[in-house]
Symmetry: C2
Subunit: 362 residues, 2 copies
């Protein structure tokens, strides 16, 4: 991180300008290998979430390293990945807009999808789409064990959905989807066991028991019965993952190269990366990113195309024309702003990687 | 806003799914006409900022209504607009990354651009680009009169840049660019007058004196010497503009149609629009948008593809499968997430408008 990278900076600015989203493929390779090794050691399959990179090229690297399949959050993302030849896909959310638009049925005609539900309305729409596709749809029941995000909140609700799935010939129960709180794996085990018991009584089986989250790698072997883990952020990492203690600066593969375009007074500066580049997502942290060259400079505010610097704590202050590298707070939303990533290896630009599944609202 | 729009909702969801970015062209027309009328009444030219819509199609509507030219914030935006035949363009920022990448020179070869500077480094890069393009570049000096964004902070600094421009045969002084605070027009007048006096002594002339901002329409005739106004948000408006008192709900042309995809417990709900759709930009407001059907529901948190609802204040709560319409806090960053806008008129979908200049990092 601290090596002299003047040559690479010059290459980036001469060939692409700033701001520019850059990934280091050596770090990407290392991060992919680490995630796979953690899954292998725990005896669960690896199903990386592509929300972080949204790129079939990088998904292919994950699969080549041993991932069994992928996780998507949008039907549009699954369409892009299916078009690239990836077919083992969980869409880890209740699809309603995509189901009612006919696009779920269209994709299900081509690829046997696995989708999620936490309510009967989604099941009804899934059955319609499956009927239209003339192929039963695999459904995971999404279970909330404390995150207060999506998911049924009790084993009883999960079993009620299982009964609806059982009653519908166009739906198959594929399994259970969890995203446990980092400190909530014991309660997840209790929830899981009750559902599995209930399914037994219904004569049903959860083939997949999926857990999720990069910070949850520390718990990966803590759910008896789990079959796979979904993690997204670990391919690139970010300031949130550093703060969570699950990555170091050397594990951060994505950086925004940005120019200092203005200095107003002694203690102010302006980057050409604003909320339309780094996004206003703080991830609960102070400031909007870490500037590698000036770690004490604080990106304290954004305009759409400007990042405003508070330089009061900097002894060595940047000057206009400097190119600096920013590790974003939340890499998944930052990559989502960009149509292509500039990929480097050993300090050389080696490839341009399209963020092909970006901008898929549905 | 309160009319029954079930038919339109059904049409949106069946043809596009959710979430979906929708604009009402009748409101767009009315907003464009109002902005033009305000400029006309003040005797200044209208130079709308395309950052809000990023669409050559909508820029053409603004020009057809009387706008003299447009404002862009990125070179990449200007490239898209120039390719669509628009040639009177101010790029209202210090370009450094774009200048040093060669792209400024490439565009300057085709279109006589107007660019901005608040420092000598930008001027040096502009002169290089102009030399490469073999055509002098028109430069506006950006002046900060209180916003603490970009811009020189004193008339003396502005005049020092003017002298550098005068000394360089590849640069022309095009004028002065201001973005006054809403309550800062008197001090802007003082700053302006000092610079104009100094330019007189240098034998120089500011052909353009540009002011900016939708909330500044209330001040538009308050700077003696101004020649044009730049405003972006007014074409669509948003919750920030309502809060600022410069728009009403009926003036809001852009809505995100989103499905309620989950309900956890009595007081929670989840939309399929998260930070990758509405963005984490609060615009300083409480919550992340106004739900027209449930104005007392608060979008209190985002995941990337989920908006989390606090329904405690709702007597009439949404149910899973409902499609609701959200006015975002900050429309410019929300439109920037979308590759195309679904345009309606009289409750019918009439057109798909590409957000063609979206994602232009440089």
């Amino acid at each position: 991180m601290t090596e002299d990278c003047t040559q690479l900076k010059n290459s980036i600015i001469e060939n692409f300008g700033t701001p520019c989203g850059v990934i280091d493929l050596d770090i990407v390779d290392s991060n992919i290998a680490k995630a796979q090794a953690l899954c292998d050691a725990a005896g669960v399959a690896n199903r990386p979430h592509i929300k972080t990179h949204k790129s079939p090229r990088l998904a292919a690297l994950q699969i080549a390293a041993g991932a069994q399949g992928i996780t998507c959050q949008k039907l549009g993302e699954a369409e892009v990945m299916a078009n690239a030849g990836i077919t083992d896909i969980i869409i880890a959310t209740n699809l309603l807009g995509a189901a009612r638009s006919g696009r779920l049925a269209e994709l299900q005609k081509r690829v046997a999808l696995k989708v999620c539900a936490d309510n009967p309305v989604s099941l009804t729409e899934y059955a319609k789409a499956a009927t239209q596709a003339d192929r039963p749809l695999d459904v995971l029941i999404e279970c909330d064990t404390g995150q207060q995000r999506a998911g049924v909140e009790t084993p009883e609700e999960a079993l009620a959905l299982a009964e609806l799935i059982k009653a519908n010939p166009m739906l198959n129960l594929a399994g259970l989807l969890f995203y446990p709180p980092v400190d909530g794996w014991p309660q997840t085990q209790v929830f899981h066991d009750k559902v599995i018991d209930g399914l037994d009584k219904l004569g049903m089986h959860a083939g997949i028991v999926s857990t999720g989250g990069t910070p949850n790698f520390v718990n990966i072997d803590q759910l008896k019965g789990s079959t796979e883990h979904r993690a997204g952020t670990c391919i690139f990492n970010d300031r949130m993952m550093i703060e969570a203690g699950v990555a170091t600066l050397d594990d951060c593969a994505f950086q925004v190269y940005t120019s200092v375009v203005s200095r107003g007074g002694e203690d102010r500066g302006i980057l050409d990366a604003g909320s339309k580049t780094l996004t206003a997502d703080t991830g609960g942290l102070d400031g909007y990113g870490l500037i590698l060259e000036h770690p004490t400079a604080r990106i304290h505010k954004f305009a759409e195309e400007h990042g405003f610097l508070d330089l009061r704590k900097c002894n060595h202050k940047p000057v206009v024309g400097d190119v600096v590298r920013v590790i974003p707070n939340h890499v998944c939303v930052a990559v989502n702003m960009i149509d292509q990533l500039v990929a480097v290896r050993g300090g050389q630009v080696v490839e341009i990687i399209p963020v092909a599944a970006r901008g898929k609202l549905v």
